[in-house]
């Protein structure tokens, strides 16, 4: 593509921007589920830098009661979290996750893809039946292929639904992820330079 072509294209896009933003809004609003860039492009056409436009649109919605958010590469509208008190059904029991389920979920989220033996090693107990099922039923955890090691154990990972449910744009937004990584706590083996634990033994 020549420079002239690029310029012409850019001009066209600039002119079409408001219309494109409107189309983006409408497509994401009408979608039955969070949509990827590809889904959006399939509906509005491959025009301009959709990712940039989406971020711009999200910004314009930020102060509103409805927000445009990205969850694991998928875009959706949702209500602003601070307005929950207007929207919560008066009496609805939140289904409590068991402690084992929460722990298993965080192990999968921070270590994915992770095998069941690894989950058991980290938690120090066998994963009881019903824990992973519950997480899969909630749509937060999925089987993620087999590891190419002896026994070819099944691995687990989180889903876009997990990110959406916990209002995470991506796995990078997992709370404390960077710190845990820096501390070597997401490795499978202790880092060699880990402080000696029995420094107090000779005190």
């Amino acid at each position: 593509m020549s420079i002239a072509d690029t310029m012409i294209n850019d001009a066209t896009i600039d002119e079409a921007r408001p219309a494109l933003l409107r189309a983006l809004e409408a497509v994401i609003f009408a979608a039955a589920a969070p949509v990827t860039l590809g889904d959006i492009a399939a509906h509005v056409g491959e025009r301009g830098d959709l990712a940039t436009l989406l971020r711009e649109l999200a910004e314009s919605y930020a102060p509103r009661g409805i927000n445009l958010v990205e969850r694991g590469g998928r875009w959706q509208f949702q209500t602003a979290p601070d307005l929950a008190h207007h929207l919560r059904p008066a009496r609805e029991a939140v289904r409590k996750l068991s402690r084992a389920a929460v722990e298993t979920l965080s192990v999968i989220a921070y270590h994915e893809p992770v095998t069941r033996p690894e989950i058991e090693e980290i938690r120090g107990v066998a994963v009881s039946g019903g824990t992973i099922d519950v997480l899969m039923e909630a749509g937060w955890v999925r089987p993620a292929g087999r590891r190419e090691t002896p026994g070819r154990p099944l691995q687990y990972a989180t889903t876009p639904g997990f990110l959406a449910h916990f209002n995470l744009s991506s796995r990078r937004d997992l709370p404390g992820l960077a710190d845990l990584k820096a501390a070597g706590l997401l490795e499978r083996e202790p880092p060699r330079e880990l402080a000696l634990p029995f420094s107090g033994e000779n005190e």
Partner: protein, 253 residues
Amino acid sequence: MGDDPFDTPPRTPAQTLVLQLGAWEGPLDLLLTLARSQRVDLAQISILALVDQYLAFIRDAKALSLEIAADYLVMAAWLAYLKSALLLPPDPQAEPDPHDMALKLQFQLQRLAAMRDAGAKLLARPQQGWDTFVRADPEGLMFETTARYDTSLFELLSVYGAIKARNSKSIHVVRRRAVMALDEAIERLERLLGASIDWTELSRFLPRDLADEGYARSVLASTFVAALELTKLGKASLSQGAAFAPILVRARE
């Protein structure tokens, strides 16, 4: 309601265990709780002190003559071994190195604590359907798929050519139908022959002036075979003086 005997679940050994150890999800969980009673910063805990705390806890539980699950006892034995290895003068041959084992234990405790913490933070985040809400009944996106058919003129013409070629072949089939069937030839020859007992050339029984050469050949062949058939049935006799000589036919009594 509480008096209903059926409301009281039966006591089982497992439940006895729940009373004492049920607060923990296994030995590692118990170790983590003990470590936290030592220090908030798990990186600073004393493994030797932790081992002592664990062994003391198990001893007390035994003193209460509670059943202790096997995995707690296995951990106790392993920790007792680790303690003795750590207290012995350093042995460079020791495999695995007890210091590495201690390091690994500490790592596991830190990792478990980190995951617990992460789980709590995760649950503290705004959650879909509780803090944030999406549209209840979106229309959904769809595609109206329209078919566009693609056929070339060459394809169109060659196919038409093929139909025409097929049809000209079928005309050929029609011509082959302009034959004198054997049944027809037998019936005709028998009728023409009548009761004639004079030898007559077979060719004289052929219809004259047949414009269609193909049909004429068919009639000739059929009439010849009909003559053979009638002879076989004993209704006619055939005679030929020599090869390629005229074939003579007559009716037979």
